[in-house]
Structure formats: C-alpha cells, structure tokens
Symmetry: C2
Subunit: 414 residues, 2 copies
C-alpha cells in the first residue's frame, strides 16, 4: 500500500520553512511558477493528451473530457491565475488583536499559516496550480490528490511547480502530489492526523459526502448549492425575471446557480408566465408544484425529490407559496445553506428574509451568481464553504490561515 507518512513528514518540514518565508520570497516563487507553466507548456500538453486518450478509451462523457482538456490558452490562464495570487495581499503576520493586560502582559493575536493543507479534487487539472498557489501564498505546504482521469496532467503540472519552487529558493515539497489514485489511499489521506491541518474537498456531492463520512482530520465542506429565488408579492416582476434567468442559465453547472423558484400565490398567475417565457430562450425545463401546473400547463410535475435536488443543469423547479413564512420554511427545509435570494420592494420583507434565512449568502434583489470570491472583491477563492465552522461562503487567503497568541512579559506569574 502507498505510504502517505513520508509525504506528510516532508510537507511538515516544508511548512516550517514556508511559515516564516517573507512575502517577497513567496511572490517570487509564484511568479517563477507562472513563467514555468508557460515555458514548459509542451510537456504539460503532452501529458494532458495521454489523459485525454485514456479518457476517450474509457468512454468518458464529452463534458468530462472538456473539463479534463488543457490547451495553450488554458495553460496561459492557469499562469495568469498564479500571477493574480502573487498580487494579492499576504494575510500572514496581520495583527488581529492586541492589548496590554492589567498585569502588564502584552498580548497580540496574529495570523499565521495553517501548516499543511490537503486538497482532494476531481477532473480539472487547473485546480492543481490554482489551489497550490493559494495555499503557498498563505504560507502553507500543500498535498494534492487529484482524480485519476487527470493523473498525468496533474503530475506534469506538479513537477513544473516543484522545480520552480526549488529554483526560487523554497522547498520543492511545498507542493506534493499523491501518486496513487486508489480509493484506499484517498481514505488514508482523509485520516492522516498529525500531518494534515485541514482537508478541503473540491468536487461533486459524492466526493464531499465521502470526505465528511471518512475523514478524521479537520475538513471544510464546500460547494453543494441548492439555491432559491423567492419572488415576494411586491417584487418588480421584470427584475425578478431577469434575476431568475441569470441565476439559472448564466452557468448552470456551478454551485451558485439556482435550482428552485418560490413565488407568492398573490402574483403567481402574472409572474410565472413571464418567467416561463424568458426561460424558454435557453430551453429550461420547468418542474412545477400542482398550482404551478395550473398556470403553466406545459410544465413537468415536480416530485418531492425535486425540492432537494441540485440539478446543475437547465432544469428549474417552481413552487407557489402562501407568503414569506412558507418561503423561508421551504428554504430552511431544502436549502443547502449556500445562496438564497428574495426579490421584493418591501422593506420589512427584505429584513425578515435576511434575518431568518440561514445561508452563507443572503441576497435582496440580486442574482445568487455573485457568491464568488472574485465577484465579492476577495480575490481568488479556494472554494465556497457551506459549513459554519472556520469559514462560510467564498474562502480566500485569510481563510487558509489560523492565528497565534504571542504574549510578552517580564516575569509575570499567576
């Protein structure tokens, strides 16, 4: 069996050095990585073709092959992503709190790196450089475990990064790839206590459930988004239609796209045909509750299962509700705590919704598609946390750090 302990030990050693590396050292190394990704593009593309050939042979779906596929442009994009991370402010060393206690002790609470971060991800090879760059900028060593479909691409990208780090005077082992894509090794990775300070899964619901179920190291759950738009009866219906159209169709495969629309009964017969017409432009399948079907006879009947489903596709479930209380109850029952939106003109309705809906991002009159680190001005993100511990919503560099109390005295005892 593949032994993860040596990787863990090397990562810890690298993390000790990275923890006190200066911002300019880390930036220099990241720029070196960006340059190397471009200058060594050919090797990466060759490795990628190997994965693509194997993928075609294994009968992978075209959408999966597309995610897997790299091109000159995509590699330039990856390099650009790494440069953007180098340009972000360094969170390490930031003073979060500071005071002098009554006994004269000087206490400061500062941001420090986590240590070693594990990332477990699926078919997109660009995650290899994106995630590693963020972890390293925040002073952490990273151990990557990518999907087997992208193995050769990941390995090639990882080698380029490791060489670039060494060239820039940082340890190669800042980034390590687990060179075994078996399920057993993935499970062992999730239980690498003593070496991993946090494990972040990036991928679909199945991967995330497996990590939550099996991990004994601390985990940040990311990504599942069963998001809603609630059209309250005072809503501007044109605005509601535009928001729903944008939130459903601008990129249905991502977690901040919506899956269900809730509409107040009072305006349902006016609002639903407008929304339905607009959604036809992108051939969205509407699955409705019985009342919706009375208004939109062409819609498909929704089953109980639909309310809990993240379609990630051109499908939308629609439910007529009695008012804001029923809308909030529905969201509480079925939502995944990612992004929720009310469209309303009523001050108190907006307040009730933002106060009572329990989600990472709660919107009034705007598309849920803004739940994204870049969009919210936080810079590149490593994922969107849907748990409440440590980080909630888009996670940028500060979310990849922890803190340390430094207490300076002159002999104080208790």
């Amino acid at each position: 069996m593949y032994d993860l302990i040596p990787l863990g030990k090397r990562a810890k050693e690298a993390a000790r050095i990275l923890a006190t590396a200066s911002t300019s050292q880390k930036n220099k190394a990241l720029l070196c990585v960006a340059d190397a990704l471009v200058s060594q593009m050919d090797g990466i593309l060759t490795a990628n073709r190997q994965d693509l050939d194997a993928g075609r042979e294994a009968g992978l779906r075209p959408s999966l092959l597309d995610r897997l596929s790299l091109s000159e442009d995509r590699i330039r994009g990856m390099a650009e992503g790494v440069r953007k991370v180098a340009a972000l402010p360094d969170p390490v060393g930031q003073q979060l709190e500071g005071k002098t206690l009554e006994n004269g002790l000087k206490m400061t609470k500062i941001r420090v790196p986590m240590g070693v971060i594990g990332i477990i991800y699926e078919a997109r090879p660009n995650v290899t450089s994106d995630a590693a760059a963020l972890c390293i900028k925040a002073g952490n060593a990273v151990i990557l475990r990518g999907g087997k479909e992208a193995f050769h691409s990941n390995l090639a990208i990882c080698r380029v990064m490791r060489d670039a780090f060494q060239q820039a005077g940082l340890p190669q082992d800042c980034v390590q790839l687990i060179e075994d894509t078996s399920r057993e090794t993935a499970t062992a990775f999730m239980r690498l206590n003593g070496y991993l300070d946090v494990l972040i899964p990036r991928g679909g619901g199945g991967l995330i459930r497996s990590v939550v179920e099996n991990a004994t190291v601390p985990v940040i759950e990311t990504g599942v988004g069963n998001c809603h738009v609630y059209v309250e009866h005072t809503a501007d219906l044109h605005m509601a239609t535009d928001i729903i159209f944008n939130a459903k169709t601008s990129r249905p495969s991502v977690c901040n796209a919506i899956e269900t629309v809730l509409v107040d009964r009072e305006i349902a017969s006016q609002a639903l045909p407008m929304i339905y017409e607009k959604l036809k432009e992108k051939s969205v399948e509407v699955r409705g509750c019985p009342e919706t079907l009375q208004i939109l006879p062409d819609a498909v009947p929704a089953s109980e299962e639909d309310w809990g489903t993240e379609y990630l596709d051109y499908i939308l479930s629609v439910k007529v509700v009695d008012g804001i209380d029923e809308a909030i109850d529905h969201i509480t029952q079925y939502g995944s705590g990612h992004s929720e939106c009310i469209v309303t003109s009523n001050y108190f309705a907006a307040q009730t919704f933002t106060d009572h809906v329990d989600a990472a991002a709660v919107y009034v009159n705007a598309s849920t598609r803004f739940t994204d680190g870049e969009q919210l001005g936080m810079g590149a993100e490593i994922g969107i946390s849907t748990q409440k511990l440590h980080a909630r919503g888009p996670m940028g560099l500060p979310e990849l750090t922890t803190c340390k109390f430094i207490i300076q005295g002159c002999g104080q005892i208790r």
Copy 2:
C-alpha cells in the same frame, strides 16, 4: 436504541428562534437561569447526592468524587458564572466587513449564531450550566451529553435551566440533555450530521481522541496540553525559576500547566539546582535526561515516553539542550500546540522563538498559566482549542458564532 433525531429537530427549531432573539431577551433568560439555580439548589443537591452515593459504591477515585461533588457554594458559583456570561457583550449581529462593490451591490459580513452546538463532557456537573450559558448567549441551541457519573446532577441542572428559559419566554429546547449515557448513543451523537453544526468535547485525552476518531460532524478539538518552558542561556534564572514553579505547581491538573523544562547546556549546572530546590517545596518529581541526572543525581531518569506525556500531576521532565534550535525542534516534535514559553534576555532569541514555535500561545518571560479566556480578557471560555481550524487558543463567545454575507442590490445580474 435511544433516538437522537427528535432532540436534533427540537434543537433546530429552538435555534431558529434563538438566532433572532434580542440581546436583552437572552440576558433576561440567563439571569432567570442564575436565580433558578440558587432558588432550586435543594433539588440539585439531592440529585448530586444520588450521583455521589452511586460513585462511592462504584469505587470512584476521591479526586473524581471531588470533581463530581456540588455544594451550596459551588452552585452559587455556577449561578455567578451564568450572570457573568449575561454581562458579556453579545457577538451576534456584529458587522465584520462591509463595502459597496463596483456594480453597486452593498455587501456586509455579519456575525450570526452557529445554530446547534453539541457538548460532550465528563464528570464536572458545573459544565452543564457554564457551557449552556455561553452557547445560548451566542444565540445557539445546545445539546449536552454529560458523563454517566454526573447523570442525576446534570438532569436536575438541565431541568432548572429549561424551566427558567420557558419562564423567560425562550424555548425550553434551547438546552437539552441526552438522557442516555451509553457509548452507542455517544457515537450516534458524534454522527448527527444535519442537526449538529459543531461538536465540542470537554474532557481528557481519551474522550477527545474518541470524538476525533468517530465524529462525522465538525469538531473543535480542545484541551490536551503538553507545554514547555525553555530556559535560554541569557535568562534571568530567578525569573525562570519562578515561572517554572508557577507553571508547574499552581494547578498541575489543567492543560496550561507545563510538563517539560528545557535548559541550555551553558547554564544547566547553575540553573537546574535552583529550579530543583524550588520544586521541592511542592515535592515535584523530576525526570531528567542523562545530562540532567549528572547535575541532579536525585532525579529519576526520563524515558522517551516522558517527553510526550501530559502528566497533569506534580511531575516534571527536564532536558538539557544545545541551544534554541534544539529547543524548538524538541517542542515541534513533542508539543501539543497549546502553550510554550521561552525565558530569555536576548531580543533575537525571543523573536526566533515566537516566530518558529507553532502553538496557540507563545510566551516570552511569563507563565503558561495565562492561557485562559478570563486571564486574557476574553471573558468566560468554553474550552481551549488546540486545532487550527475555526478557533485556536481560548474560545469565548465570538468563537461560538459563524458569519453570513448579506448582499443588497437593485436588480444586479452577472
């Protein structure tokens, strides 16, 4: 088998109400709890006598019986603890960040309650009211699972609290006690995903390991402290002696007490006899490395196991080191990341130690015993986190909350 789902559901319902309860409502309820603990003291003491009788019959150690035991004074202390929590500032609703984005979206990041917090703890019945008060002040419902030795005491305290909440207009189910102390139910509690937003174990190393190993809900690890004092060769030896004496003997059973002293070779023959003499006042057993034994022939030889042991007792291991690098390496290898101290007069030694030692609290010239929420001016604490995710060091009210992004627009789409 005892079914935790109904408790989970009731807790979630209570949490929805608590999440938007005003500070004054919560404070009123907590003061009501404090009054009720005092006015219904007799019932609690009767229940406690039941536990003590059973404990004596089961042959519990005197120290355990002492922890279990309540008195009029101790109950008044518990009530006082609850009043102190009521007096702390409410973290809920605090704005953590706020800005207007280029597209006009107004984004604010605010503190909100976690939801439902689980606490799993051992023999001290005072944890029942202490932990519940903190959770509720931060707007969370709490589910408690105490040790079987304290079952009747916990149940009586919990009933008093539930009645007081109801009287004050908050749901009884803000606090629930799991009325089954079997191991199976404890494990099921650790896997109550969908109901528990976080689980905090409070107790010894065995309990914490069991939670880390078995839990599938997010966990905050607390409490194991293998702490060190390093006497650097420029240290004021009187100061070093006082700090070591205080950190070892003022309360050896707590996690911020030290277990090992590291001394620079250069000053060992002068420092060790001074430290040894002082420790004799409290009959501390010293377990030394071979060099220590040459200087202190009466000391006991330390085994490899000693360096990793949290004695929680009047025992101290002592090692002579070659200098600061060896000291930091030793701490990196054996420390639990809780509290570490250097005694020094050298500016650069102080900086090297605080930069390179990876622990929740790093001290220069002060006793590790200050790692405590009250001592650091954070108010009452629910525990001391030794993990890096979410919270590190003493955890007060803010650490029992999460955040939510509220994004207000006027029709923005992406």
